[in-house]
Amino acid sequence: MLLEAILIALWAGIIGIDLYNGLTHIHRPVVTGLVVGLILGDVTTGLIVGGTLELIWMGMVPLAGAQPPNVVIGGVIGTAFGIIAGQDPNVAVGVAIPFAVAVQGLITLFFTVFAPVMHKADQFALEANGKGIERINYLGLVILFIFNAVIAFLPIYFGAEKAAAFVETVPQWIIDGLSVAGGIMPAIGFAMLLRIMMKVEYIMFFIVGFILAAYLELPILAIALIGLAIALYDYYQNKHKQGPTPEEGEITDGI
């Protein structure tokens, strides 16, 4: 089992990177099913379980930073369990989902603790040190690889059922709480943007954007287009007031 567990761990590490970087989507369960099936010597079962998991994860995609149950670990553990235990694909799904949810909680945690590294990045930028910036990004990749490889290795080597029992000892409120926090988290990024861009004269546009989304529930593209319309009006109004300079007359023709 050791060799198989190591090979599966390597695959999990690679597709753990692909989930966020590369995005060739070899991390989808339909592909993982084939690969884990090859490693464990039962391609047909691998394909069937992988395909079943794929259909379940179809709607679970990372939309705007909201994190669904982790598809990498869900796919790997689900397929491996389905083949090793010779279980029905739907039972494999039942084992895979709690793992996937718990792992996504851990990834939320990782995205949180990686934030301080950005201050090191600021320092590299100040020194115009490009190599430093590159190293920070490679560090992120290495951590993703190791994290996914280890998480995949342990349950397969020690037995998926034992591991599932362990996951169930983590109180539900902690897992739920991390997911709630993940939903609120974009507020921090938006507040930082406001801090950079906001001036008193712009508050009205911010309010308009908010109302369009909150009350009228318009999609972001529609809101951006309305913002663009206001901006164009404002742009030509201002230019009109000042009177076009010779060079600016030329610009007006161009747009």
């Binding site: 989507h25 179809m58 951006a224 913002g227």
Partner: protein, 273 residues
């Protein structure tokens, strides 16, 4: 901070980037989310993606440092469509555009492209190609995964590389014309940017109270019966403004992220969120 316009030490426009370099930057954009985190999201990966271009454009070390620092500010968009923004921004950098205009365009484009990308790729392309692949796989057909990967990636890489070229060409052409009215352009970009940020807060910050107050026969859901009646997306707005206020007070983003995790845990523990 925002009112001080940065003056480039070297104001001459740089040469056009060769097509080979443009392509290599599109390859680098594959690592956009390598250092993803909740403070800046894709910022360091974004800087990584355009970095070789910036190095060619800004020979002056102080200009390069200023540009790198600006590009470490919060950034988040769809990872396939990011190359379009890269193209435009590199064109602006090359023409030594006003730094606030560069920031404004970046912020104004990342939100809409994020939404379009989600709709196009995660809600349309992925379900279609993956369901074709999965339907073959569940019958034990080994072609399933391959058909999925080929269909998906032809479109994925076509979009990624095509938009890089298109964004850069559009940027170089359009910006030459805009150069003179930089102050107005900055203002226009800020208007679009802030309108979008207002919309993003209401759309993507999920902050809900999940508690129903019961007395006898009557039930009162705090979220839908009270808060939403006062104003939809009220809690996301209040929380974002609270964070904004704390940031202005000089609190560190890390502390605020920590507080947010604790808020989530407390809310979940008491079963009210």
């Amino acid at each position: 901070m925002a009112s001080n316009h940065y003056q480039y030490e070297d104001t001459t426009s740089a040469q056009d980037l060769p097509p080979k370099q443009i392509r290599s930057l599109a390859w680098r954009s594959l690592l956009l989310q390598a250092s993803f985190n909740y403070e800046r999201m894709q910022a360091a990966g974004w800087l990584y993606s355009i970095l070789p271009g910036l190095r060619v454009i800004h020979k002056n070390k102080k200009d390069l440092s200023k540009s790198m620092k600006d590009h470490l500010e919060f950034f988040n968009t769809h990872p396939f469509l990011v190359t379009f923004i890269m193209g435009i921004i590199l064109a602006m950098e090359q023409k030594k555009e006003d730094r606030e205009a560069i920031r404004g365009i970046k912020v104004a484009t990342m939100g809409p492209l994020g939404g379009i990308g989600d709709a196009l790729f995660y809600l349309t392309l992925l379900p279609i190609t993956a369901s074709i692949g999965a339907s073959l796989a569940v019958e034990g057909n080994i072609l399933g995964p391959f058909i999925f990967l080929i269909m998906f990636n032809i479109i994925h890489f076509g979009v990624r590389f095509g938009l890089m070229r298109y964004g850069y060409r559009t940027g170089v052409k359009a910006i030459g014309k805009l150069k003179e009215g930089t102050k107005h352009v900055s203002r226009a970009a800020s208007i679009v940017g802030l309108t979008v940020v207002g919309g993003l807060i209401a759309t993507y910050v999920t902050f809900k109270i999940d508690y129903t107050w019961k007395q006898g026969e009557s039930e009162l859901n705090v979220q839908t019966d009270i808060l939403d009646q006062i104003m939809p997306a009220m809690l996301p707005l209040i929380y974002t403004l609270l964070i904004y206020w704390l940031l202005k007070k000089g609190r560190s983003p890390i502390l605020l992220i920590g507080i947010t995790v604790i808020v989530g845990l407390i809310g979940s523990y008491f079963g009210i969120m």
